[in-house]
Symmetry: C2
Subunit: 331 residues, 2 copies
């Protein structure tokens, strides 16, 4: 009996070691469930994320362009802003954005909190000011009470607003994709075709930039390495932040998590399909012309990266009061 | 023992009779929970309600203007349509709209199903066509499967789309307001001030039009009975449907359920606050100038009509495919 128990223990240790080794060997890691979170901030941030009263028009919320019904983006080439202005760049998904090394395509915001204030005050997006957005919230008693409950004092400011939105966004991770189940040891989770796609993805060099927990999001790379990218968009990427000419057309490598839901692709949204995106990436970044079969296999692999979408009740927003400054959609 | 039981029985019958009499005597009835519903249609309809791909731009869904986070409306004077067009009329709440005698302010749609197709094909709203909307849905395998599961055949058409949306909308009732709890016998549910407001509401004549389960929604009445309404909006109401001059400026009486959430008020959205709306209604419809206290009491009563808002998980929409016609937000 003692002997038998010992054998089982050894077997278990052995299995665990193999599994750890297998995981450690893969350049992509499974998405970890959210660990530490401030739930009160999350609930407040969720309301703010869905509240169009943070925009001048009263019509555009964070969720308008980072739609959580649609992979955390708007599925448009470039977004629609205040007065239907055409945005200069494709809206990146908010899903798993907490895993990014920085926010925005050019990385100009260090973290989610710094990002969250951007669109509110951007004249081409929500078209408001931080001061006006805060004055709207401060006119709504339920918000005043909730901010006090969450932050412990009587004032509402943009710092608290963006802290809460960022905390909500940290919950927007998508674990449990088929690929992650495979990484975690369920060898039946992927088909041979999908696995062949993953091998191609690794062996062709895609993995050099698209790696880690988010399969991207952790570096800036030049768009157009082997041949220049013919951009229609005026966006120049990281150079707008660093001022360095060497950083022109360097963009944050997008996450490939849920990439089947986050079409169209690239910073300018010019690639409508995964097939097109894989083809262009292969040629421009790797100098490789994938065959039709190879392309299809890589696409099949990419589709296994769709994880569990965030699931929550649609928030009910507290109504404005007679003191709330009315929105100005047509002013 | 037998005698005692009989007494209790008689007492119970007596109480029930009194409660029934009290309810029957009131001109407003509590909202009934949804009785018979096709749950599969509801789940499909919920997705469609939130799907901006039913619009030309891929940006506007039913929920954009009938926002279920915001009392089933957009809280704007008039709505924003395709290319930021300014709508001609205030978006009525979708909450409890199943209780309306007809749909739209001018009643031009007989029911929710007939209504649901309107905005999709309205050039000033979602700016699409029924044919194109159906072709988008038909290109998405998950929708094809779900339509087949729900309706039992392989085709998707606008009839099925609007049946499903309407079935979802039937679930959007808001029972359990404090006023309904009072109607159902909880005499502590209202304050004396709110009850005074209800008495004024009845005794001043508001109740003549705002009655029944929805506190309105069951008749068409002229806007401006005792004195003409100075409308800025070109909308002329029922006459646009009947062609009768006598129906000019007759509009469907709006429901007052959740009226604290459905600001601004009137078909043109020109009344920003309940105080203003009560004042104007009193003067124009009833020839009454409510005192400040009377107005405040009526407003206090109206705020008791906020019921339980529909509570459901934000739907996750199936992604488009390579075959899906892309949206045209700027075309």
């Amino acid at each position: 009996m003692f002997f038998k128990l010992k054998t089982i223990t050894l077997l278990l240790i052995g299995t665990a070691a193999v599994a750890t080794a297998a995981r450690a060997a893969e350049p992509i890691q499974p998405i970890k469930p959210v660990q530490s979170i401030n739930l009160a901030q999350v609930e407040l941030g969720k309301k703010l994320y869905f509240d169009p009263r943070l925009s001048k028009s009263g019509f555009i919320s964070c969720n308008s362009c980072h739609n959580l019904s649609m992979g955390g983006t708007d599925n448009l080439k470039t977004s629609i802003g205040d007065h239907w202005q055409q945005g200069p760049i494709n809206a990146p998904t908010v899903l798993n954005s907490s895993l990014n090394v920085a926010q925005f395509w050019d990385g100009r915001a260090a973290d989610l909190k710094a990002q969250a204030g951007g669109p509110i005050a951007n004249p081409g997006e929500m078209g408001f000011t931080h001061q006006l957005a805060v004055s709207v919230l401060a006119s709504i008693p339920e918000y005043v009470v909730e901010f006090k409950q969450v932050f412990g004092d009587d004032s509402i400011d943009i710092d608290k607003v963006t802290v809460a939105i960022a905390e909500f966004e940290k919950t927007l991770v998508t674990p449990n994709s088929r690929f992650d189940r495979w990484l975690l040891g369920d060898k039946d989770a992927l088909t041979p075709n999908e696995l062949a796609g993953y091998d191609l993805f690794k062996n062709s060099g895609c993995i050099a930039c698209h790696n880690g927990e988010a399969v991207g999001g952790n570096s800036f790379q030049k768009m157009g390495v082997m041949e220049p990218y013919q951009a229609k968009s005026p966006a120049e990427g990281l150079s707008a932040v660093t001022g360095k000419d060497a950083d022109r057309f360097k963009f944050k490598v997008p996450t490939l998590r849920n990439v089947a839901m986050t079409y169209p692709y690239f910073h300018d949204g010019e690639a409508e399909t995964l097939t097109e995106a894989v083809d262009i990436m292969g040629r421009l970044q790797l100098g490789k012309q994938f065959s039709e079969q190879e392309n299809a296999q890589i696409v099949a692999f990419l589709k296994t990266l769709t994880g569990d979408q965030p699931s929550f009740l649609l928030p009910i927003l507290p109504p404005s009061t007679d003191r709330t400054p009315p929105p100005k959609p047509f002013g």
